[in-house]
Amino acid sequence: MGNMMILIPMILYLLLMFGIAIYTNSRSSDNGNFMEEYFIGGRSMGGFVLAMTLIATYSSASSFVGGPGVAYSTGYAWILLSMIQVPTAFLTLGVLGKKFAIISRKINAVTVTDYLKARYDNHFIAITTSIAMIVFFSAAMVAQFIGGAKLFEAVTGYSYVTGLIIFGISVILYTTIGGFKAVAITDAIQGVVMILATTFLLVAIVNAGGGVENITAKMIETNPNALTPTAGGAVSIPFILSFWVLVGFAVLGLPQTTIRCMGFKDSKSLHNAMVIGTVVVGFLMLGMHLVGALGAYVVPGLSGDGAIPGITVQILSPVLAGIFIAGPLAAIMSTVDSMLILASASIIKDLYLNYGKGKVQEKHLNRISFITTGIIGLIVFIFAINPPSIIVWINLFAFGGLEAAFFWPTILGLYWKKANADGAMLSIILGIGSFFIFTIYSIKPFGMHQIVPTLIIALIAFVIGSLFGRKNSEATIKLFWEE
């Protein structure tokens, strides 16, 4: 039975993830500071793990299934678009890494909200950013689960719910038990699996098509537009340029990215991660999207999200297909796990400890954290079984909404001394607000994605608020600039 042959390597793989979580849990439980261990891994990531966890977090279902699926129908233009993500890793680490490393140690920050609270000293900002994070992450996690379960269904032939149970439960369990450290280490392994999966599939598709020259010849014959950088006009230049914002520099604002800048060990780890991260993400983007674009002329007749699973099943042997399918599932799980741990951190650290009970005993905190992580995971899981349309709707806003809320307050807070609470507040309100309005009414000035005008408005709001609003306290300036 072909089915079982695909399923077995997958299950072995999931068991491995689970083993790692138990191992990290048993190793870190005797450390004194539970919060710092559970939510940020004791700031101990080395270069390789940092690079991999960063990549694994932002390569999700869309990098392995969605994007290559579009490349399947549009051709080279979509590979060009995917390459925009290549320098994002080094930009994030190079701009945010050392600043966050220093400040998060100073104020014992384990969440992005910890930083925003220290920088702006404002309850409104702390609460809205926490809530935005919890809501958007939950919706995004449901969407990732749906993507994963559908993929599982397409490749193995088992039902959607079976898939959801197998990998959904494993990701919830290992995140709950192992915390951030388990998330980072499993991310690193999942990163390696993604590299292997991409390599297998790319080699297989080029071989099956009789070499790149042959495939290109077929392309020239049947669909020459696929060879152009605009897909014959379908992918316009303003449209593609706005991706330099959406999946390019605005990613600096995503809390799941920024939090990684609080968790690494030393300068050397950061330097290595910048290089490793760029090399690996480039390989994955180029490889997977080439599989999609070339695959259309080797295994024709597929479409959209069905393209990559279809290619996989047809050109790889079952065992290899099982290993391959672990690639995108790994991408999905590693996106979900980091959101899960962050949502949990946000509830415990940003909301409960600040505005709820206040002082809680270490041992107690330990249990509350496990339970919170588990419960969020479970809620997301239940939603994914039969997704309510509101979740699908919120997810449309998740990525851009988080960027709209966090980008300027994060960056300007670090690099602009005059940045203050009034500016950040205005920027968050107008940013999220205008992003919603632009998206709902699909207003796209000059064919650009909504995120571009949104960030411009949010920037103007931030600058006006900062110039005319209340000044930063001396304590804040002392903390961040020591003057």
């Binding site: 390459m83 320098p87 930009l91 140690r105 070499g211 020259e213 290109t216 950088p229 180029l286 020591e482």
Partner: protein, 92 residues
């Protein structure tokens, strides 16, 4: 390095990073649309790929990776992240 020196070094590294980012953008854009917008009958091919794609995406990826490795090694410094309150610690 004391705190101010650290800050200055970090700002410098951030500027270099942004510079590399802009460099990659220009490379990506110039080759893709410089070579790619002509008529398909005039396309040339390298290793089976359209030339614009080869230069913009494949070579661009190799170049930025190599350049990054060089720049990080040459201009990025080891900074102690723990708060040492301005005491002199010569590790740069």
């Amino acid at each position: 390095m004391n705190f101010k020196e650290k800050n200055r070094q970090i700002n410098k590294e951030a500027k270099i990073t942004v510079g590399l980012y802009v460099f990659f953008f220009i490379w990506w854009f110039a080759f893709a649309y410089g070579l790619g917008l002509r008529d398909i009958s005039e396309y040339t091919y390298i290793l089976g790929f359209p030339a614009w794609f080869f230069y913009s995406c494949i070579l661009g990826y190799v170049v930025i990776s190599a350049l990054l490795a060089f720049v990080v090694k040459k201009y990025f410094k080891d900074i102690d992240f723990d708060d040492n309150n301005g005491e002199d610690k010569n590790n740069g």
